[in-house]
Protein backbone atom coordinates (compact mmCIF):
# COMPACT_ATOMS: atom_id res chain seq x y z
CA UNK A 1 0.00 0.00 0.00
CA UNK A 2 1.51 3.34 -1.03
CA UNK A 3 1.90 6.40 1.20
CA UNK A 4 -1.00 8.24 -0.42
CA UNK A 5 -3.39 5.33 -0.03
CA UNK A 6 -2.46 5.01 3.65
CA UNK A 7 -2.98 8.75 3.98
CA UNK A 8 -6.46 8.49 2.43
CA UNK A 9 -7.38 5.63 4.81
CA UNK A 10 -6.21 7.70 7.80
CA UNK A 11 -8.22 10.72 6.67
CA UNK A 12 -11.35 8.61 6.06
CA UNK A 13 -11.19 6.73 9.36
CA UNK A 14 -10.24 9.74 11.51
CA UNK A 15 -13.02 11.84 9.96
CA UNK A 16 -15.56 9.10 10.66
CA UNK A 17 -14.20 8.50 14.17
CA UNK A 18 -14.37 12.17 15.11
CA UNK A 19 -17.36 13.55 13.24
CA UNK A 20 -19.90 10.74 13.61
CA UNK A 21 -19.94 11.19 17.44
CA UNK A 22 -19.80 14.96 16.97
CA UNK A 23 -22.88 15.14 14.74
CA UNK A 24 -24.73 12.59 16.89
CA UNK A 25 -24.12 14.95 19.83
CA UNK A 26 -25.21 18.01 17.83
CA UNK A 27 -28.42 16.46 16.51
CA UNK A 28 -29.23 15.01 19.93
CA UNK A 29 -29.02 18.56 21.29
CA UNK A 30 -31.17 19.78 18.40
CA UNK A 31 -33.87 17.18 19.14
CA UNK A 32 -33.80 18.17 22.82
CA UNK A 33 -34.12 21.81 21.71
CA UNK A 34 -30.86 22.62 23.52
CA UNK A 35 -28.78 23.52 20.51
CA UNK A 36 -27.14 26.72 21.64
CA UNK A 37 -23.82 28.25 20.72
CA UNK A 38 -22.46 27.40 24.18
CA UNK A 39 -23.48 23.74 23.85
CA UNK A 40 -21.84 23.27 20.47
CA UNK A 41 -18.74 25.46 20.44
CA UNK A 42 -16.70 23.27 22.83
CA UNK A 43 -17.54 20.09 20.92
CA UNK A 44 -16.83 21.82 17.60
CA UNK A 45 -13.38 23.04 18.65
CA UNK A 46 -12.65 19.70 20.30
CA UNK A 47 -13.59 17.76 17.15
CA UNK A 48 -11.46 19.95 14.87
CA UNK A 49 -8.45 19.73 17.21
CA UNK A 50 -8.91 15.97 17.70
CA UNK A 51 -9.00 15.30 13.98
CA UNK A 52 -5.99 17.52 13.33
CA UNK A 53 -3.93 15.87 16.09
CA UNK A 54 -4.90 12.34 15.00
CA UNK A 55 -4.08 13.05 11.35
CA UNK A 56 -0.74 14.73 12.11
CA UNK A 57 0.40 11.96 14.48
CA UNK A 58 -0.65 9.10 12.22
CA UNK A 59 0.86 10.76 9.15
CA UNK A 60 4.16 11.16 10.99
CA UNK A 61 4.02 7.47 11.92
CA UNK A 62 3.25 6.46 8.31
CA UNK A 63 6.03 8.70 6.96
CA UNK A 64 8.52 7.09 9.35
CA UNK A 65 7.33 3.56 8.59
CA UNK A 66 7.13 3.85 4.82
CA UNK A 67 8.88 5.63 2.02
CA UNK A 68 7.49 9.10 1.29
CA UNK A 69 6.79 9.26 -2.45
CA UNK A 70 6.24 12.17 -4.78
CA UNK A 71 2.81 12.48 -6.35
CA UNK A 72 2.79 10.96 -9.83
CA UNK A 73 0.26 11.19 -12.67
CA UNK A 74 -1.89 8.34 -11.33
CA UNK A 75 -2.07 9.99 -7.88
CA UNK A 76 -3.00 13.29 -9.55
CA UNK A 77 -5.75 11.55 -11.56
CA UNK A 78 -7.12 9.89 -8.43
CA UNK A 79 -7.02 13.23 -6.55
CA UNK A 80 -8.84 14.95 -9.41
CA UNK A 81 -11.56 12.28 -9.51
CA UNK A 82 -11.94 12.51 -5.73
CA UNK A 83 -12.23 16.32 -5.87
CA UNK A 84 -14.88 16.06 -8.62
CA UNK A 85 -16.94 13.61 -6.59
CA UNK A 86 -16.59 15.72 -3.44
CA UNK A 87 -17.67 18.86 -5.29
CA UNK A 88 -20.70 17.09 -6.73
CA UNK A 89 -21.68 15.76 -3.29
CA UNK A 90 -21.17 19.23 -1.76
CA UNK A 91 -23.36 20.87 -4.45
CA UNK A 92 -26.17 18.32 -4.08
CA UNK A 93 -26.16 18.43 -0.27
CA UNK A 94 -25.96 22.24 -0.14
CA UNK A 95 -28.96 22.56 -2.47
CA UNK A 96 -30.88 19.97 -0.43
CA UNK A 97 -29.92 21.71 2.84
CA UNK A 98 -30.92 25.13 1.54
CA UNK A 99 -34.24 23.75 0.31
CA UNK A 100 -34.89 21.82 3.50
CA UNK A 101 -34.06 24.73 5.80
CA UNK A 102 -36.22 27.06 3.71
CA UNK A 103 -39.11 24.61 3.96
CA UNK A 104 -38.61 24.33 7.74
CA UNK A 105 -38.79 28.12 8.00
CA UNK A 106 -41.84 28.27 5.75
CA UNK A 107 -43.68 25.56 7.72
CA UNK A 108 -43.23 27.53 10.93
CA UNK A 109 -45.10 30.43 9.34
CA UNK A 110 -42.44 33.08 9.49
CA UNK A 111 -38.69 33.13 9.23
CA UNK A 112 -38.68 34.88 12.62
CA UNK A 113 -40.87 32.36 14.40
CA UNK A 114 -39.27 30.62 17.42
CA UNK A 115 -39.65 27.22 15.67
CA UNK A 116 -37.48 28.37 12.76
CA UNK A 117 -34.08 26.69 12.58
CA UNK A 118 -31.64 28.78 14.54
CA UNK A 119 -28.31 29.99 13.21
CA UNK A 120 -26.36 27.34 15.12
CA UNK A 121 -28.49 24.60 13.57
CA UNK A 122 -28.10 26.09 10.08
CA UNK A 123 -24.35 26.36 10.54
CA UNK A 124 -24.14 22.73 11.66
CA UNK A 125 -26.20 21.54 8.69
CA UNK A 126 -23.84 23.25 6.26
CA UNK A 127 -20.83 21.95 8.19
CA UNK A 128 -22.30 18.45 7.89
CA UNK A 129 -22.54 18.97 4.10
CA UNK A 130 -18.84 19.87 4.04
CA UNK A 131 -17.82 16.89 6.19
CA UNK A 132 -19.85 14.46 4.03
CA UNK A 133 -18.23 15.93 0.90
CA UNK A 134 -14.80 15.40 2.48
CA UNK A 135 -15.74 11.81 3.36
CA UNK A 136 -16.75 11.20 -0.25
CA UNK A 137 -13.36 12.57 -1.35
CA UNK A 138 -11.42 10.23 0.95
CA UNK A 139 -13.70 7.28 0.06
CA UNK A 140 -13.16 7.89 -3.66
CA UNK A 141 -9.38 7.90 -3.14
CA UNK A 142 -9.47 4.68 -1.14
CA UNK A 143 -11.75 2.92 -3.65
CA UNK A 144 -9.67 4.01 -6.66
CA UNK A 145 -6.40 2.95 -5.04
CA UNK A 146 -7.89 -0.43 -4.12
CA UNK A 147 -9.34 -1.01 -7.60
CA UNK A 148 -6.04 -0.14 -9.29
CA UNK A 149 -3.78 -2.17 -7.03
Amino acid sequence: MCFREKSAWVALISTLAVFVPYFLFVFQKAIQNELTRGAVIGAFIGAVIAQTVIQVLVHIAIAIASKREQQDERDAGIDAAAQRNAYMVLCCLTILAAFGLTMMSASSGSSRAPESPNLVFIAQIFYLCFVVAELSRFATQVIRYRLES
Partner: protein, 73 residues
Amino acid sequence: MGDATEVRNSIRELRFQTAEMTQQDLADRVGVTRQTIVAIEGRKYAPSLELAFRIAAVFGKPLETVFQWGQPR
Protein backbone atom coordinates in the same frame (compact mmCIF):
# COMPACT_ATOMS: atom_id res chain seq x y z
CA MET B 1 -12.06 -8.04 -11.28
CA GLY B 2 -11.32 -7.78 -15.02
CA ASP B 3 -8.91 -5.47 -16.80
CA ALA B 4 -9.73 -1.79 -16.40
CA THR B 5 -8.08 -0.68 -19.61
CA GLU B 6 -7.72 -2.01 -23.15
CA VAL B 7 -4.13 -0.81 -23.28
CA ARG B 8 -2.06 -3.99 -23.19
CA ASN B 9 1.64 -3.95 -22.51
CA SER B 10 4.76 -6.08 -22.49
CA ILE B 11 6.44 -4.38 -19.55
CA ARG B 12 6.77 -7.51 -17.45
CA GLU B 13 8.47 -9.46 -20.27
CA LEU B 14 10.72 -6.51 -21.12
CA ARG B 15 11.75 -6.08 -17.48
CA PHE B 16 12.88 -9.70 -17.32
CA GLN B 17 14.75 -9.31 -20.59
CA THR B 18 16.47 -6.20 -19.22
CA ALA B 19 18.64 -7.75 -16.50
CA GLU B 20 15.52 -8.64 -14.48
CA MET B 21 14.80 -5.02 -13.76
CA THR B 22 12.51 -4.64 -10.74
CA GLN B 23 9.28 -2.66 -10.72
CA GLN B 24 10.91 -0.22 -8.29
CA ASP B 25 13.89 0.29 -10.64
CA LEU B 26 11.58 1.05 -13.54
CA ALA B 27 9.44 3.33 -11.36
CA ASP B 28 12.51 5.29 -10.25
CA ARG B 29 13.76 5.66 -13.81
CA VAL B 30 10.47 7.02 -15.16
CA GLY B 31 9.56 9.06 -12.08
CA VAL B 32 6.45 7.32 -10.77
CA THR B 33 5.62 5.15 -7.76
CA ARG B 34 6.04 1.37 -7.84
CA GLN B 35 2.28 1.06 -7.40
CA THR B 36 1.76 2.90 -10.67
CA ILE B 37 3.99 0.40 -12.49
CA VAL B 38 2.05 -2.42 -10.80
CA ALA B 39 -1.23 -0.85 -11.99
CA ILE B 40 0.06 -0.43 -15.56
CA GLU B 41 1.39 -4.00 -15.74
CA GLY B 42 -1.88 -5.31 -14.37
CA ARG B 43 -3.86 -3.27 -16.94
CA LYS B 44 -5.62 -1.39 -14.16
CA TYR B 45 -4.29 1.96 -15.32
CA ALA B 46 -3.51 3.38 -18.77
CA PRO B 47 -0.46 5.66 -18.61
CA SER B 48 -0.29 9.08 -20.20
CA LEU B 49 1.39 9.31 -23.59
CA GLU B 50 4.41 10.96 -21.99
CA LEU B 51 4.83 8.21 -19.39
CA ALA B 52 4.36 5.55 -22.08
CA PHE B 53 7.16 7.14 -24.13
CA ARG B 54 9.39 7.30 -21.04
CA ILE B 55 8.83 3.61 -20.28
CA ALA B 56 9.52 2.66 -23.89
CA ALA B 57 12.70 4.77 -23.81
CA VAL B 58 13.95 2.88 -20.73
CA PHE B 59 13.73 -0.39 -22.69
CA GLY B 60 15.03 1.22 -25.87
CA LYS B 61 12.02 -0.04 -27.81
CA PRO B 62 9.43 1.68 -29.99
CA LEU B 63 6.19 2.60 -28.22
CA GLU B 64 4.11 0.02 -30.10
CA THR B 65 6.43 -2.77 -28.95
CA VAL B 66 5.78 -1.90 -25.32
CA PHE B 67 2.12 -0.88 -25.54
CA GLN B 68 -0.69 -2.21 -27.72
CA TRP B 69 -4.29 -1.13 -27.85
CA GLY B 70 -7.32 -3.45 -28.06
CA GLN B 71 -8.06 -7.08 -27.38
CA PRO B 72 -5.39 -9.67 -28.28
CA ARG B 73 -5.90 -11.27 -31.71
